[in-house]
């Protein structure tokens, strides 16, 4: 395997792709959103339950490549227990991590395990895979003042 590929497909990513955390629908979730990448057809649903301003429960469902599945899985672990504004900040840091131009991956202490996605920056075509779950989370939180109805 080339070193670039090893950098991208880290064991943590492959593990989370095989057995993702929090991979289920959340019945009666107050917040949810669907994300779709029309380029590759990847679809993801993110479900959220808040306790006041804090993420009490977060799950996802969907199908996609290893990068998008692992990213969604690790995202649910990362934002659990965080406040809504902390989760939003985390997204900004994550986006910076996977798009920054610097060659040597700058790990961000605040990102913890999410730093395994630093290798994505070498693959501009794959950045959307890594951020799909986060965009969907953001959409779900957009109306956190106003829960989406269950139709």
């Amino acid at each position: 395997m080339t070193s670039d590929l090893r950098e991208l497909y880290q064991e943590v990513i492959l593990d989370h792709n095989r057995t993702p955390s929090n991979f289920r629908a959340l019945e009666g979730a107050a917040y949810r959103a669907e994300g779709y990448n029309p380029l590759c057809g990847d679809k993801i649903q993110v479900f959220l339950q808040l306790d006041g301003d804090r993420v009490e429960e977060v799950t996802f469902q969907g199908a996609g490549c290893a990068i998008s599945q692992a990213s969604a899985s690790l995202m649910t672990e990362a934002v659990l227990g965080k406040t809504v504004s902390e989760a939003r900040l985390l997204f900004e840091q994550f986006q910076e991590l996977v798009t920054s131009e610097t060659q040597t991956p700058d790990t961000d202490e605040g990102l913890g395990k999410l730093n395994v996605f630093a290798g994505v920056r070498e693959y501009p075509m794959r950045v959307k895979c890594a951020t799909l779950a986060w965009h969907t989370l953001k959409a779900a939180l957009k109306d956190s003042a106003e829960p989406v109805s269950t139709e």
Partner: protein, 422 residues
């Protein structure tokens, strides 16, 4: 050499082997390395590489003959007009059409279909009518019809396909009804590689007096075409998939139909006379070619068709067919590979999924080894739905691909398995 002597010697002589190394040398882009590996270009269904002859023809136009067509009396304009109209004749011969004016230059197959949807189908479509397509259409042979159908309250009817990705003529015939106003079918499927029985489809439609459009985007680079023998009303293809430039394509239409069709776009070249009260339109093909055309593109396309004919589509088809057969066998030997599209009659395309690995991950890992394939839904989402997948990996061969390149693909897939199945 006399014919008799020739016959006597050729009956015993073996068919010369296809000299792929020789043809490869004509394609400068194939010589490069990608991520430190020799480029293995297996994305020919998306676009083909260009031979030096095409690149030279385009450069020559811009360096020596650059001028507008059908307008100037000066030397350069005469040259470019001659070259432009010679390209039209070149395309006619390639398609086997009866008349040069049956060849309309468009941006690509997509624009050709849109032109027919707007200028031919639109005016004759009524509420409740149907356009009959196959289950394996590219979005370009679905959406233009849907746009017109929505305006008129008409709809699409779909000829189903079996698990191998084949349609049956009996089922097609059963779906042709008095409501059917057009049959629009793909000649060779971009997602599956299936070669459709288009002659049978045309005959079945004609028995009921229904016109047929064939989408030849994937057929033109691989099969010998004869639109006069096919007898279809319309045929479209794209220049960039037959080794020509992007942004140029062809709509073939039967002369009597084109003559009766209103213009698609308004502008220069498509008119006979204009006043602020009334415009008289030019005759086909010019009626459908508003504005300054893609002159360099048509000249490049003609050079591409010259080049392709120089090799011979018969030889190309035979070599590619053997190469596709080899690729298919090798792919089936890779653990977890499932082929999507196993029709008996196929051209160029090996589409597949690997159990437990998403197509995009396969694409990235192959790219790191210099291997270019297409991953995704191939602008044919209904095909993906039919086979219960969201995307596939598609390797599509051309005559310049080699058996070694297929071996490189298989080696690349072994690397994929190594990463995903430790």
């Amino acid at each position: 050499m006399s014919a008799v002597k020739n016959d006597a010697s050729s009956s015993a002589a073996p068919i010369p082997p296809f000299d792929v190394a020789r043809w490869r040398r004509d394609f400068p882009a194939l010589e490069q390395r990608v991520h430190g590996h020799p480029l293995v270009y297996l994305d020919n269904a998306a676009t083909t590489q260009k031979p030096q002859a095409v690149i030279d023809a385009v450069v020559r136009y811009y360096r020596e003959d650059c001028s507008n067509v059908h307008r100037g009396v000066h030397q350069l304009s005469q040259r470019s007009t001659l070259a432009f109209e010679a390209a039209r004749e070149r395309v006619r011969a390639f398609l086997g059409a009866h008349h040069t004016e049956e060849v309309i230059f468009v941006r690509g197959a997509t624009e050709g279909i849109n032109l027919v949807a707007r200028s031919f189908l639109g005016p004759r479509l009524q509420e409740g009518d149907e356009v009959l397509v196959t289950a394996m259409e590219h979005h370009a042979n679905i959406v233009p019809w849907q746009l017109v159908c929505e305006e008129k309250g008409a709809q699409l009817a779909v000829i189903p396909m079996n698990d191998r990705g084949e349609i049956s003529l009996d089922e097609a015939e059963a779906l042709i009804s008095p409501r059917t106003k057009l049959v629009a079918a793909v000649h060779v499927s971009n997602a599956l590689g299936t070669i459709n029985p288009v002659k049978g489809l045309v005959d079945a439609a004609h028995q009921r007096g229904i016109p047929v459009l064939l989408d030849g985007a994937q057929a033109a680079p691989h099969l010998e075409l004869d639109v006069a023998a096919l007898d279809c009303e319309f045929y479209v293809f794209s220049g960039h998939k037959v080794f020509g430039p992007t942004g140029i394509g062809v709509l073939y239409g039967k002369r009597e139909l084109l003559e009766a069709m209103p213009p698609y776009q308004g502008g220069g070249d498509m008119i006979r006379s204009v006043s602020f009260e009334k415009t008289e339109f030019n005759v086909p093909p010019h009626r459908f070619e508003a504005g300054t055309p893609n002159i360099a593109g048509t000249i490049g396309l003609a050079a591409a068709l010259d080049y392709l004919s120089g090799i011979g589509l018969g030889a190309v088809a035979a070599y590619e067919s053997e190469l596709l057969h080899y690729a298919t066998e090798q792919l089936l030997g890779v653990p977890g590979v499932r082929l999507i599209g196993t029709a008996k009659e196929k051209a160029s395309v090996a589409s597949f999924v690997i159990e437990g690995v998403h197509a995009h991950d396969v694409g990235t890992i192959l790219d790191q080894q210099g291997i270019a394939v297409r991953v995704g839904h191939h602008c044919a989402q209904p095909v993906m739905d039919r086979f219960g997948v969201t995307s596939t990996v598609r390797a599509s061969v051309s005559f310049y691909n080699t058996h070694d390149e297929i071996d490189a693909l298989i080696g690349g897939l072994e690397e994929v398995l190594e990463i995903f199945r430790p």
